[in-house]
Every structure is written in C-alpha cells, then in structure tokens.
C-alpha cells in the first residue's frame, strides 16, 4: 500500500486548524466550576484526538506529544475524574493558541517557541498531577508525561483490536512492520476470537496479538506506533520483566473517532518527515475550499441540462429552415437560462458561511474584556450566511478592528454604565438583502462622541468653523487617518490608524461602510458587501462617444427630468428636487471629460444610484443594454482610476469601464 501521504498534509493542516476552532469554541462554552457538560468535552476531545492522530501519521512528533497531554487532561474531564476549573480552561485555551502556532510553524517549516510549548506542557502536567493522587492513573503506559521514557530490555505488548479496526483503514501488519523497525519483534497471534468460517465477516478483525519487542525502544516510541489505533483497540504496553496480567476493566477505551477513516495511510521510514514538511511548505499558499457535495451535485445536474440544450441546438442545426425559427429561439432561451444557472451555482461553490470569520470573536471578546476589566457578552447571529471566499479573507481584519473598537471605546466599564445592565453587549449579525451581504457590528456602549469628533475635525482643518454638519458628516471623520477620540492610547486601540484602513479594505472588495450612533445608547456599524466579486449584472450607459457600466444593484431608478426642477445651490453644484428630497446631480461627462455628450439636462437621462446609504443622480446621454459582466483588473497593467471600479470585455470585444458608484458619491460629497 504505497500511498504518497504528502498530498494529504494540506488536508491535515486544514482539518487541524478547523479542529482548533472547534476546541476554542467548545472551551469558551464550558462553564467553569460546574460538572462538565459531557457533549462539549467530547467534542473538544475528538478535535484534539484527530489532530494527535494526524500529526502522528505525518510524523510531527512535537505536535503529537503536546496534544497527547491535552487529550489526557480532557479524557479525565469527561470521565468526571477532574473538575472543569477556569484555570484548566484558560490553560487549555492557551494550549490551543500554542498548538496553532506549532502547526503554522510546522507548515511553514519554521521553528516554534519551544520553551513556551514546554512551559504549557508542564502546566498541563501539573493540572494532571493534582488529580493523579486522587484517581491513580494506573500503570497503563500511554503517555510520556505520566511515565517518563523508560529504558527497558523490551516491551510486552498486548494488542487486542476491536472487530471494526480494519474498517477504519488500519492495518495491523503495517503496525507490526513499524514495530519491527524499533527492535527485535516476536508476534504471537491469538485465534480464540476466530468464529466458524460460515459466520466470519471478511471485514472484521478477529485476531488479537501478544507481541514482544526486544531492544532499546522507549515506551513513548512504542506507543506512538499505536497512536492511530489506540481508540479502536485494547492496548497494554509493559516492560518485559513484569509479567502481571493487566486488569481488563482498566483497558476499556471508548472508540469514538469517526473521522479516522479519512486519512489512514502508510507510515513510512524515518525519511518521510523531511519530505512531508517540504511538500507542506510548498502547498501552504495554494488556497483550497471544502465544498458540500450537494453544491457539486447541483453543478453536475446543470451541466447535464446544458448538454441536453446543446444537443437540441445541434439537432436544429442539421436541417434548419426558417419555419423552425421559433424552436431556435426557444433553445437559445433555454441555453441562456442554463448558462446563468450554471454560473450562479459555480459561484456558490466559492461561498463559505461567515461563521468561519465570526468564530474567532468569542475568544477575542473573552480575552480583551478580561484585560480591560469590562463585562461583555457577544451575541452572534446569521453565522450561516454565505459569502465569497475572497471576501471572507478580506473581511476578517476589518471586523476584528471594529469589534476591538467596540470593546475598547464603545462599552463602558461596569461602574460607568448607569442604568444599563453592567454586562455590555456586542452583537455581530450577518444577513443577505437585495443581492448584497450586510454585516453589522453593534454595541450598547456610550456611542460616538460627536462633540469630541467635531473638535478634532476642526483642529485638523477638516471642518470649517461655524458651519452646521450633519451627524453623518461628523461620523465620517472617524474614517480619516490620524483622528482618534480615545483619551488614552491603549494596546487595544486608539492610535487613529485603523478605521481608514478598515474602510479601504472594505472598499477594495467593492463594499461600503456606514455608522449609526446614539449617545449613551451605543453605536452600530454596518458593512455592505457584494455577494460575489467576479461577475455582476451591469447597465450600459452612453456618455458622448464613450460607454460606461453601472452595476445594476446600485441603480435605484432612471428618470427624465425637467430643467426647472434642478437648482444650482450657491455655486456648489446642481441639486434636483426629487420625490421630496434633494438629489445631487453629477454630470458624468464633466467628471470624465467626455466629448460629444448631451449637455442639456432635458435631453439626457438621470440614473439615480445609491451607495453607502447616499443617493446621487448620474447624468448620462442614454441607457444601452444590460449585460452580465466579469470584472477585470484595470490596475494590473495600468493603475487605479478614480471613479472607475474596474473594466470588462463587452459583447463586441471592446473594453468597458465599470463605474465605482461609492467612489463617485464620495468625490461628489467632498466637492459639494
């Protein structure tokens, strides 16, 4: 069974990192002091166990050793031999961090902080030792910590696999071969469990073995060989001299790891570790996605339909005459529908639930609120909202920043919260609305300090004294680099770098950000993101000789206007009285210096667009067709152009420029 396990290393890292997230979430949900919630502990245990097994397979010894101690501790917890103390939880949480660093280090082939690992390991062992005197860990040798590596003449190993051992892909012969590499091995099979031939299930493992390994191998080394199967078998390892028969009751181990079947592979000689590490390093940068099988099936179904349509069309093409024009149109319609469906579903493959971003926050809020001496509860909702993978990668840091801000500036210390409950609340909410994703970060803290912001704005010369500014205009200032209203700079936030970066990151993925705040009641920041980055519906508009594309989603409506409804506001640009509000008019041809454009407002069209919660009327010559457009980068070979979000190839092969609505509105606001 020669399988190149290198190809699975990447999967191992992905699964392990997922496992760490599960552990973290589980640990945070564990109520300290209370009797352990068995389900929770089991979940955490399983995650640790998978990582341990995987790291053993790939030969990451340090990881295996470390997880083993964690696992032992958790095992004690779920068996009720150890109380779930907050000390234990905190130590385990730190171990999760440490483990994450170790995995990253192994993946990138760098060194990790060995003293820290050792220190945490010591602390875990201490926690274990506290209980050891009470429960007595027995003389089962499975851990290097409980029994330091003992040198003996050899080991007597009793290996009694459960019947279903082989179904999880384990092969005893492989284990023995590996043991044989450690020393002089004698294997004695025990046939007593063997049923009559007629009753025998070919996939079951009926044999048990007594093994003697002579040589200088440590107990740890021997145990490692069995790392994958220890939950699927009864295993005892004891020094050769003592010939006591172990109490079978003590060896009862619950077999639980359902995932083991996924990745059980050939364990090779000593050189495997070097090669694995190298391939892991090379593969580290290639992103991959785990996709639900239902999504893939949906795509396959659609491809099936597409093939049907294609054969329909080619049948039509064989002997076509004008009488069958209707049929042709029908088939073409169907083709269009198929293509669109297929595109939607392929895009959906790139979509991941936002929970992968949200999941880091419980831990962060827990840690920071403790550090700041605040009581904060985090409420998550809409974690299952799906969002494009690229957006997910870009949105993480901005969200961290926003939540930190809420924790640091928003939520007051308990003493200052007055009538509000002492426990502050931060909410993270995600939802779909009209083709966009909305993410809200809210808190019930003190809200933005309008007056302080205004003063800062005046000091920095961003506002003119004596003028009235709307709340929006004032709040907008927090996105300005260098402005912070924090009274003192902490290591959490307050340096005034950040919100501008947050906004830029969000704009980079075509999103926008909005603030709402009420003094004393809290603030809410809403991020609006496009569902997907790659393809959008566009409305083509003509301006003079040029043609631009407006994303369909940002269009509110298109209207013809009468000249008398437009006022010029004291040299500050034109404003249209429109449905009871005043709408700034932006003449695109002026903005872009287009030639030959319609300049008479009554002759052209006003396309009302919306972004960042603000509307503006774009004055264009006329509307052209609508088209699905795939966004191409203008920056790659050229540079960023203000007011242009990107480019695309139009139906006739020419390049069309996509308007950056939120950029245009911003520029317009800065002018007026």
């Amino acid at each position: 069974m020669a399988i190149d396990i290198g190809q699975f290393v990447q999967t191992f890292f992905e699964e392990s990192l997922e496992g760490l997230d599960i552990m973290e979430a589980g640990l945070l949900a564990l109520p300290p002091g209370a009797a352990a919630d068995l389900d929770q502990v089991n979940t955490i245990f399983r995650a640790v166990h998978s990582i341990k097994g995987g790291s053993g397979t790939f030969g990451f010894k340090e990881v295996t050793g470390f997880t083993h101690v964690m696992e032992t501790l958790l095992d004690k917890m779920r068996e009720g031999q150890m109380a779930v103390t907050s000390e234990a939880i905190n130590t385990l949480l730190q171990s999760v961090d440490c483990l994450r660093e170790m995995l990253m280090a192994v993946r990138n082939n760098t060194d990790f902080d060995a003293p820290r690992v050792e220190e945490l390991r010591e602390r875990l062992v201490q926690l274990l030792d506290q209980k050891k005197s009470v429960t007595g860990a027995g003389n089962r040798c499975t851990t290097a910590i409980q029994l330091p590596p003992v040198l003996a003449d050899g080991w007597r190993i009793s290996f009694r696999p459960h019947l279903d051992l082989m179904r999880s892909g384990n092969d005893p012969v492989r284990i023995f071969r590996e043991l044989a590499a450690l020393g002089d091995l004698t294997v004695r099979p025990d046939f007593s469990r063997l049923p009559r031939l007629a009753e025998m299930q070919p996939e079951d493992c009926y044999l048990t073995w007594e093994l003697e390994l002579r040589g200088s191998a440590t107990c740890e080394a021997v145990a490692e060989v069995f790392a994958w199967v220890e939950d699927d078998s009864d295993l005892t390892i004891e020094p050769l001299e003592e010939l006591t028969v172990p109490d079978p009751a003590e060896q009862e181990v619950v077999a639980e790891n359902a995932q083991q079947g996924e990745l059980l592979l050939d364990r090779r000689g000593n050189d495997r570790r070097r090669t694995d590490r190298r391939s892991a390093g090379a593969a580290a940068d290639s992103g991959s996605i785990r996709v639900g099988i239902d999504k893939v099936d949906a795509v396959i179904n659609l491809v099936g339909e597409l093939v049907t349509t294609q054969s329909m069309l080619s049948a039509l093409g064989v002997d076509f005459d004008m009488n069958r024009m209707d049929k042709l149109h029908e088939a073409l319609d169907q083709l269009e529908r198929n293509t669109r469906d297929l595109q939607e579903h392929v895009m959906r493959i790139r979509m991941l639930p936002i929970s992968s971003v949200f999941s880091r926050f419980p831990r962060m809020v827990h840690d920071i609120s403790e550090k700041l001496g605040k009581q904060v509860e985090l409420r998550l909702s809409g974690e299952q909202t799906e969002i494009d993978k690229t957006v997910i990668e870009k949105i993480g840091d901005p969200l961290v920043h926003l939540v930190r801000n809420s924790l640091d500036h928003g939520i007051e210390p308990p003493a200052e919260r007055g009538a509000k409950p002492a426990m502050g609340t931060i909410t993270l909410n995600a939802y779909h609305k009209s083709g966009s994703i909305f993410i809200e970060v809210g808190d019930d803290g003190r809200g933005l300090d309008r007056e302080a912001l205004r003063r800062k704005g005046l000091d920095a010369g961003l506002l003119r004294p004596g003028e009235d500014y709307s709340d929006d205009q004032i709040y907008e200032l927090i996105f300005h680099p260098g402005l912070s209203t924090a009274k003192e700079i902490s290591d959490v936030s307050g340096r005034g770098v950040g919100m501008d970066v947050v906004r830029r990151n969000i704009q980079d993925v075509g999103g926008s950000i909005q603030i709402a705040s009420q003094p004393g009641r809290g603030s809410k920041i809403t991020i609006c993101l496009p569902l997907t980055l790659a393809i959008l519906d566009g409305q083509l508009v003509s301006v003079g000789h040029d043609c631009y594309i407006i994303p369909l989603l940002s269009i509110v409506e298109s209207v013809q206007i009468r000249a008398e409804t437009v006022n010029r506001v004291a040299g500050k640009g034109e404003v249209l009285r429109f449905r009871g509000q005043h709408l700034p008019v932006l003449r695109l041809y002026e903005q872009f210096g287009a030639e030959g454009a319609v300049t008479n407002l009554e002759k052209g069209l006003l396309v009302v667009v919306e972004a960042d919660g603000r509307q503006v009327g774009l004055f264009v010559d006329d509307l052209q067709g609508q088209q699905q457009i795939s966004i191409k980068s203008l920056e790659k070979n050229f540079r960023r152009v203000a007011g242009v979000a990107g480019a695309t190839i139009l139906g006739d092969g020419r390049v069309g420029l996509i308007l950056d609505i939120s950029g245009l509105i911003r520029v317009n606001n800065a002018v007026t």
Binding site: F592, L634, N637, R639, V641
Partner: protein, 186 residues
Amino acid sequence: MATKGTDLATLNTHLRREAAASATAEGLQYLTFILAGESYGIDILKVQEIRGWVPVTKVPNAPFFVRGVMNLRGAIVPVIDLRLRFGLESVEYTKTTVVIVVTVRSEHGDRIIGMVVDGVSDVLNINNPADIKDPPDFGTAVHTEFISGLVTIEDGMVMLLNVDRLLSIEEMFAMESVRPAEAMHT
C-alpha cells in the same frame, strides 16, 4: 527593409522566430520602428506581439498620451501614443499604424502595455555591443533619459529605447501631474 503593409500575422511569426533565436544567439537584437521619420529600436525580448490599430476605450483623467485601454485576449492593456509621449505632433492613424505590445518591468510586477507607432521596420542585429554608443548630451533641450544608446546603420541611425523607463505608468502620471483625484475636483 521597410515592411510597411506586410501582413501582421507574417510579421508576428517572424518576430517570434527572431526572439527565440535572440534568446540563444550571441549579441543583441532590436525591433526597429518608425516614428516621425526617425528610427527607434527596442529589445526584441520585450516585445510580445504587434497588432494593427483598433479603436480603444478612453480612460478618464489619464494623461493625454494614454489613448485608452484595449482588450488583449481578456487582459485590459493600456495603449500609449508614442508620438504624443515624445511631444511630437499627432497624426491620423492609417493602415500602417501599429501597436507594439511590450512587457514592461515595474515595481508592481510586469505590466503589458501597447504603444502606437507609425510602422515597424525590421529586426536589427548587433553582434558587437561596442557598436552601441552612449546618447550624446543635448543638455535640457532634449529628454534623453529614455534613450539607452545609439547605433549607426548603413542608412542612418537607430535610437535604442529603454521601455521600462519610457512606459512607466508612475512616471507618466508624475510627468503629467494629472492626478485623477484632483482632476475630479475641478
């Protein structure tokens, strides 16, 4: 040597062959082209292909010598009019007007840029690098920073261009000092 009117497919095939040969051969090879009656040369390894002029899409608030962007098999490629870049008088584009697509090295990675010239002429072999002379110093009257050297041939002189400098988008915008953000405020 003049290949005006030669069909572009033949030209491109020829170009690829020359470029392949150039990669292995001793000496240097330059693609020469005509601009306002003068001959210029660029390193053949920089040249991707030669295309006929097709109308491009105008980019707002770009320097005047950036004609726009074109679609090069799905990539968005800016097209620069070399006459305007050199401050020469612009002319109507004709059938011989071609776009030389070149790879330009920049701080932001390699860029693909098209440059409009009056017509391509030939491939120039320089076996002895000593044949390339430094450009003379014209003082401030003539910008020579894009010219990497001069070569004398039978019927005249070829100016060898440094396209990385010449077609640096950053320098174009700095020179123009038309920054889009400012332009939009006016």
